[in-house]
Amino acid sequence: MTNGRTSPTQQDSGRALVAPGTGNGLVDVFRSRFLLKLLVRKELRIRYRGSVLGLLWTYVKPGVQFIAFYIALGVFLGLEQSPTNRGGLPNYAVYLFSGIILVNFFTESLSTATRSIVNNSGLINKIYLPRELFPVSSVWVSAVHFFPQLFVLVVASLFTGWRPGPLEAVTAVAGFVMIALLATGLGLFFGSVNVYFRDSENLVDLILLIATWVAPVLYSWRMVLDKAGEAWFAVYQLNPITIAVECFHHAFWLPTTAGAEGSPPNLVTVWVPVGLLVSLAILFLGQWTFRRLEGRFAQEL
């Protein structure tokens, strides 16, 4: 369906005949930046409409989650290092929070992106516009919710002795980009499949349920290496969420410790490029699937 011609949503200079309804996917989303901006703004305005706390809910949710995990895992199960528990992780609170906010960004993005096409069926049925806009704007909205949490993390890290360097900043950005690409790719995939089979939503809920547990958010990557061995650990590391979380640990948590635990070997040199590549591959797969399926969105919705 790809063709190099301008989509009908653009101002055509001439009146050359073009086939309507055939766009250029994510490229068109970039061209409709203004509409994307308005869709994101709309979503931000209506998400917490009629609630007293409003946007504060984006702090309350990860906050409560953090406290529950911290008490259950850090204190009761002994993952936090203390004078009586030398084997735990130092500064477990920062360790935990840096992973939680990143996984929450992923969870919120994918969950809303998966539902975005069906939820906007009223529009998709009636007006042609680049439909990729909806999953992309879902991820964007989640990013807007993510940044205040990141700010809290930065403040907390500064209090625990964090002095960021350029390498830390680069790994943090890499981790964020990895998750954004992955969530967009999976969102395009599951969002388009969801039009045909609403099972997709349930499958995504299942994935999100285990997302926190398959990445080293709550525990240390070393435990996986010890139990699973080198080969399985490499498989474990292929998950971009794992690499992204390790990036955040490397950027925000590791500099606040004496470097005792360390990041997985070759994290920056090998695994970060691998994670970005896997995420990009999933983005292409998502876009490809989306384009295969979008032709029949209007009649299936």
């Binding site: 309507p20 309804g21 509409l35 007006i127 045909y196």
Partner: protein, 242 residues
């Protein structure tokens, strides 16, 4: 005259699936009701039409004859199973007034959002904003949330945004009956003004008197085929004669 819409031999079939559930599908297969699983419906059959720029065309026919489906193919919302649809210039649909309006946003936000959805740029909307509000007769309520609007105000604002998108080809589906009588007249006058300005109009409506008033050419559809194409008066009398 240049071609605005060129439709060549398009076919469209809908598969009406009666169930997606695995359990029901299995039960039906076992009971020998395989034929009930899905049904095919031919919405458009080998249909070809050409519309020149500046023409005003009414798509006529009984319910289920394929008028709205054809309009969706011209706007690009649907793609044909076979055949080609090509359009020249910018196409905008007045397909359903208010699609894309959000009740929790103010009138102002909705004008921007809906304008952008219909393909306007930021500068175009800003330029035309005052004119949109004036035409809609919304006045001071523009910063009120749309959910507090009366249904008439809501439709007037939506219609006003749509007619200000200034496309080359206008697709109009059953929306001319908007608001109270004075506003309906105003809408009609606006549509005629667009036609006089050389815009291409493709109109679907069951209001035959209104269609006769606005359009020059009529195309009669039956079961997804064009069965008559000519001056709108002749087509309407054939439709009424049936």
């Amino acid at each position: 005259m240049t071609t605005a819409i060129e439709i060549r031999n398009i076919n469209k079939q809908f598969v009406l699936r009666h169930t997606r559930s695995l359990k029901e599908a299995l039960v039906w297969l076992l009971r020998g009701r395989k034929g009930d699983l899905s049904k095919k419906f031919h919405a458009l059959r080998d249909l070809s039409i050409d519309v020149e720029h500046g023409e005003t065309v009414a798509l006529l026919g009984l319910n289920g004859s394929g008028k709205s489906t054809l309009l969706k193919h011209i706007s690009g919302v649907m793609l044909p199973d076979s055949g080609t649809v090509r359009t020249g210039g910018r196409v905008a649909g007045l397909i359903e007034v208010g699609a894309g309006f959000h009740p929790d946003l103010s009138g102002r936000d909705n004008v921007f959002l809906n304008g952008a959805i219909l393909g306007m740029t930021e500068t175009q909307i800003k330029e035309k904003f005052d004119s949109i509000v004036e035409f809609a007769e919304i006045g001071e309520f523009i910063d009120t949330e749309v959910k507090f609007y009366s249904s008439g105000m809501y439709l007037r604002l939506a219609f006003s945004v749509a007619v200000h998108t200034d496309p080359d080809v206008f697709l109009v589906d059953e929306i001319l009956a908007v608001g109270d009588e004075p506003f309906q007249k105003k809408c009609l006058a606006k549509i005629k003004e667009l036609a006089a300005a050389g815009k291409t109009l493709v109109v679907v409506s069951h209001d035959l008197d209104l269609v006769a008033h606005v359009c020059e050419r009529g195309v009669l559809l039956e079961h997804g085929r064009v069965i008559m194409d000519g001056p709108v008066g002749d087509v309407i009398s054939r439709l009424r004669g049936n």
